[in-house]
């Protein structure tokens, strides 16, 4: 038996991350080998000029896995919606 291909994941963008990527969300089949949020951000940077710009300063990008904040070391396996955004400025 071979492993089932991973289902596509919804990637969601907000504020200037959204503007730089150029879309509010997309459905993507992630490549194998991405274990953590940090791995995913590194892969995003490789996807073209817009992504390289949006994820230029990886350390300030905040990530939510299925609408919960996640540190860059968190495992992404199982997440169906992954959001990327700048530090929050509400309130």
């Amino acid at each position: 038996m071979t492993a089932d291909p991973a289902p596509p994941v919804k990637l969601v963008y907000f504020a200037w991350v959204r503007e730089r990527v150029g879309m509010p969300d997309e459905s993507v089949a992630l490549p194998e080998g991405l274990a953590t949020v940090a791995d995913l951000i590194a892969w995003q940077r490789s996807r073209g000029e817009e992504y390289a710009h949006a994820f230029e300063h990886a350390d300030i990008i905040r990530v939510a896995l299925d609408k919960r904040h996640a540190p860059h070391g968190a495992l992404i396996a199982g997440a169906r919606e992954i959001a990327f955004f700048p530090p929050m400025t509400g309130g």
């Binding site: 504020a15 609408k67 919960r68 955004f85 929050m88 400025t89 509400g90 309130g91």
Partner: protein
């Protein structure tokens, strides 16, 4: 059993006295109410409006998680948090937190805590719209907001 918190994300303005009355209606065990209202400043006259973007779904959930923490930590008799999104003009309200308790200390601390955590954890982003119609920059997060949240 702690009360359920009221959490709302909305574009329309909120009504502070109505929200306060909702917490106090029909009871006489509340000794102190702290209401914090956050307003849009005009930044010395250069601001036309603030645009508040948010992450629908997560905004309610995350504020709900912060509220659960507050309800577990302080003996509250009522807790409300309302955050607006969309275009907000100078002088208008942006955010409301109301905490009610038998004694004032819990209400002060819980409202203060809620605001520090809303600022740093609720998925909202502010962008300035300047007088004259140009879109200004996204507001940058302030290190002192993180420091304030770290107090708790």
């Amino acid at each position: 059993m702690p009360p359920a918190a009221t959490i709302r994300i909305q574009s329309e303005p909120f009504d502070v006295p109505a929200e306060t009355a909702r917490l106090t209606a029909g009871r006489a065990d509340i000794g102190g109410i702290v209401a914090f209202t956050g307003l849009c400043r005009d930044e010395g006259g250069r601001l036309e409006a603030l645009e508040l973007e948010h992450y629908p779904g997560m905004a309610e959930e995350e504020i709900g998680r912060v509220a659960e923490t507050a309800l577990a930590r302080w003996p509250l008799l009522g807790l409300t948090a309302i955050h607006r999104h969309g275009l907000i003009r100078p002088g208008e309200d942006i955010v409301l937190v109301i905490a009610a308790s038998a004694h004032r200390r819990a209400a002060f601390e819980a409202a203060d805590f809620m605001m520090d955590y809303l600022k740093t954890r609720a998925p909202f982003w502010k962008r300035e719209h300047l007088i004259g119609g140009t879109k200004g920059p996204w507001v940058e997060a302030r290190a002192e907001d993180d420091a304030a949240a770290a107090r708790w």
